[in-house]
């Protein structure tokens, strides 16, 4: 984007002028002092959404640790990729960071839809910002009461059941395709534009099954508006402890979780990355953050930049495997 280049040029110019030197590269910050100015944390989704909430909880605590405000900036668009491509083209000085989810980090590229950046070459992964489980829920009035019963019915009646997802190529869609391929069943996919209209239609009884985020579904489960079958995380969710996992339902090795990564432009100095990583992990250990995470169905994660990068690689091979086994068409 021309604007991004302009930003870069302008910032470099400003840096050179302020430095008063002929050779000052844009990223040359003195790392020991870091941070000396507010840090921008770019979120690729609108305010109030689940990614935004995660970012704001962690940014609040990281501001205290780092001694500079960490400001959340929402640049929503194209499944989070608009925000992350802005981060990818920013200066690697540690003052522009991003929150990159499953879609922006893996799925969009894995499905052959150009994201505008290459996460391995354009971004450094600093840490994992918690994980979030999904829940397979059905409309009221379905005969099946458990996941095995549901899969049995689906097997006996191919394409009789409809399942909704929050969109083509979203984790919910792929997680369901994954389960379908493991169970050897066929259900008709009905894509929606996000979680909200999907929730509306499963509560209203227009679609049979939906893959929903646990915090979005929890209240409807409690009010018995929908019937939970299983959670997709490896362990049961703090929000609905009575609901078994898909693994407990007899599908060994099945996990599908949403997560976010703290990313920075490639080339961010190692000591800046270390400082950010420490601040993130510090936040993850904080009692208040842990408490807030629990009420939102999030599981805290502690990771070094290397571990987080490894996590990204592992998740990528898993999702690419899912896309191949389930035969999801690539573009």
């Amino acid at each position: 984007m021309p604007s991004f280049h302009w930003n870069k040029i302008r910032r470099s110019l400003a840096a050179s002028v302020i430095g008063g030197l002929a050779v000052v590269s844009a990223g040359a910050t003195i790392a020991e002092d870091y941070p000396t100015q507010p840090i921008t944390l770019v979120v690729g989704f609108p305010p109030g959404g689940s990614t935004d909430v995660v970012a704001r909880i962690l940014a609040g605590h990281m501001s205290n640790t780092l001694g500079q405000p960490v400001l959340v900036e929402n640049r929503p668009g194209a499944g989070g990729t608009v925000g992350i491509s802005h981060v990818a083209s920013s200066d690697p000085d540690g003052y522009t960071l991003g929150v990159s989810g499953v879609g922006a980090s893996i799925l969009i590229d894995a499905l052959g839809r150009d994201s505008g950046y290459d996460i391995d070459n354009d971004l450094d992964v600093i840490g994992v910002m918690g994980t979030l489980g999904l829940v397979i829920a059905g409309r009221n009035g379905l005969e099946a009461q458990t996941l095995p019963e549901l899969m049995e019915f689906a097997k006996a009646n191919p394409e009789a059941l409809t399942y909704g997802s929050s969109g083509v190529g979203t984790p919910g869609h792929l997680a369901m395709e994954y389960l379908k391929s493991l169970a050897g069943v066929d259900m008709l996919h009905i894509p929606y534009k996000g979680n909200t209209p999907l929730l509306n239609d499963v509560v209203g009884g227009h679609v049979d099954i939906a893959m929903l985020t646990t915090p979005g579904a929890a209240e409807h489960v409690r009010a018995e508006n929908i019937q939970p079958f299983a959670v997709s995380s490896p362990d049961r969710s703090s929000l609905m402890p009575d609901v078994p996992t898909v693994i407990e339902g007899g599908f060994e090795g099945y996990t599908a979780t949403l997560w976010n990564l703290l990313v920075a432009p490639k080339g961010t100095p190692a000591d800046v990355q270390a400082k950010l990583s420490d601040a993130l992990n510090e936040a993850m250990k904080d009692v208040r953050v842990v408490g807030e995470f629990a009420t939102k169905g999030l599981a805290p994660t502690i990771s070094s930049p290397e571990q987080a990068t490894q996590f990204l690689h592992d998740e990528r091979s898993k999702w690419i495997g899912v896309i191949e086994t389930a035969g999801v068409p690539k573009k």
């Binding site: 959404g49 990729t81 839809r113 994201s115 008709l188 209240e219 009010a223």
Partner: protein, 506 residues
């Protein structure tokens, strides 16, 4: 019920909540007036501030901004032909001609009254039948949504006044622009030209501000319009005549009903409510030619509709925890930040939040009325300002507003493109109002039709055989037949007139 209302007022009447309610509606009106800055942008920006408030107080303020914005959005529409918010675009059609006739005061007065009436109807619906309306909304299947949107589209052809053919062309253009972005059913990108920013489609605010706002500014540069209003604004000139008031009763009642119903349906929203109310008035008017030339019904109906819709939009949000619009999602986000899980049990789990908020709506709407009527004189004086001062400010505000929506420079460029297009439309006599409606309805129409067809396994008979879907489709068909027959009849009448008075006689 009664004790709940008392509880609500007890919550809303604390000094702190009253102060934040006033702050909310005041900010809302102000932001609504500024073109480009809508309540969505304002609420997003103020959301972090609410972390430090009580959840009820936070919601009272954010709610005030939301319906206050609907109120304020029409002021710039009437005075400058620049809609402050997309839902106020309809108000330009008759509001601005009224201002040009020197009746800006009357138009603003009627707007204030109609907004109050619409808001009140919406609150009564929310208080009395909230949960039942919400259940009714849940019962709407994708097929029903499709049929309802189609009805809206058929009604839309009449909006904008003037040539039906030109109206149709603009609706179709709006529908086509609505196809830009990611196809929901397949995930394919359509007409995105490799721009990441276009994958979510064209921004409605950028488009509305371009075709209405920027084009208005461009055409004023060309000097085609010279300012005529210079007379003093007296209290008398603000007062509508008895004839004006008589004409507004029906439109306000119909507008509030239509708006109240559409607002409660997730996804329909205030823009569609305002357009549908306007289209209904044209449909049932005896003299259709008055519309677009300063008909008072053309303000009363959409203004009561969008304010009723702004209130009933809280029904699905609060009673079942399913937000109907982006703004409502942020409201729910505000609750979640405070550890309150929005959902079907909100009313029983947190009665002070629900009833306190509803009580604050009454108070807020009263504040708006009291705040706005004395301000009319001040607003009208804006017209006496030279354009050379107003327009640069307007352009700057539009750019700031559109940029702040998604922190996107791309959207600002879109405003420029749509501004140029809008000027072209204006010069060639094409009204941008049907364009906006087609653009808003098109994606919903397509998405729901394709979803309904998927669910019906591709069988159109199954789609039509549902009683609700079927009857909605039948009404659309009847309206089309009526419109075509009406067209033929006037054509025949015109021919006959030609025969009686052969050419050359006059």
């Amino acid at each position: 019920m009664f004790e709940n209302i008392l509880l609500g007022f007890a919550t809303a009447f604390t000094p702190e909540n009253l102060a934040y309610c006033f702050l909310g509606v005041f900010l809302g009106t102000f932001i609504g007036v500024l073109p480009g800055l809508g309540s969505l942008a304002a609420i997003s920006m103020l959301l972090p501030l609410t972390f430090y408030l009580e959840p009820t107080t936070a919601l009272i303020m954010l709610g005030g901004i939301y319906y206050g914005g609907e109120y304020g959005g029409s002021i710039a529409s009437i005075l400058l032909n620049l809609p402050g918010t997309p839902s106020a675009a309809v108000t330009c059609l008759d509001g601005n001609p009224m201002a040009k006739q020197g009746r800006a005061g009357v138009a603003l007065f009627i707007t204030a009254i109609a907004s109050f009436v619409g808001g009140s109807v919406g609150i009564v619906a929310l208080m009395g039948f909230g949960p039942s309306i919400a259940r009714l909304g849940l019962g709407f299947s994708p097929a029903d949504y499709f049929a309802l949107m189609l009805l809206g589209l058929v009604a839309a052809v009449t909006v904008g006044g003037g040539s039906v053919i030109k109206g149709l062309i603009m609706v179709v253009l709006g529908l086509l622009l609505g196809t830009v972005g990611t196809d929901v059913t397949t995930g394919d990108f359509r007409y995105t030209f490799d721009f990441l920013e276009l994958r979510d489609g064209v921004s409605l605010v950028a488009m509305a501000m371009g075709v209405f706002g920027v084009s208005e500014v461009i055409s004023s540069i060309s000097g085609s319009k010279t300012r005529k209003i210079s007379e003093k604004v007296t209290a008398r000139s603000m007062m509508p005549t008895r004839e004006d008031l008589r004409r507004t009763f029906g439109p306000m009642a119909r507008g509030s009903t239509i708006g109240g119903f559409l607002g409660a349906l997730p996804g329909a929203g205030t823009v569609i409510a305002a357009f549908m109310a306007y289209a209904t008035e044209i449909r049932i008017a005896k003299d259709k030619t008055r519309f677009g030339k300063g008909a008072i019904e053309g303000i009363a109906a959409p203004e009561s509709a969008n304010n009723a819709a702004a209130q009933t939009a809280f029904i699905p949000t609060l009673t079942i925890g399913i937000p109907g619009s982006a703004t409502m999602s942020i409201m729910l986000g505000a609750l979640m930040i405070h550890g309150i899980s929005p959902g079907p049990l909100l009313i029983s789990d947190h009665p002070t939040v629900f009833w306190g908020l509803i009580a604050s709506f009454w108070i807020g709407n009263l504040f708006l009325l009291v705040l706005n009527i004395p301000l009319i004189g001040l607003w009208v004086r804006v017209l006496q300002f030279p354009y050379k001062y107003i327009y640069p400010v307007v352009i700057a505000l539009i750019c700031i507003g559109v940029f702040s929506m998604r922190t996107s420079v791309f959207d600002v460029s879109l405003v420029v493109i749509f501004g140029a297009l809008g000027y072209l439309f204006q010069r060639t006599g094409y009204s941008p109002a049907p364009l906006i409606l087609g653009f808003v309805l098109g994606p919903m129409l397509e998405e729901n039709l394709r979803r309904a067809m998927l669910m019906a396994r591709g069988d159109p008979i199954r789609l039509v055989s549902d009683p609700l879907t079927g009857s909605l489709l039948a009404i659309s068909a009847l309206m089309l037949v009526w419109a075509v027959l009406g067209g033929i009849r006037s054509l025949v009448a015109a021919r006959r007139k030609d025969q009686v008075f052969p050419i050359g006689e006059g």
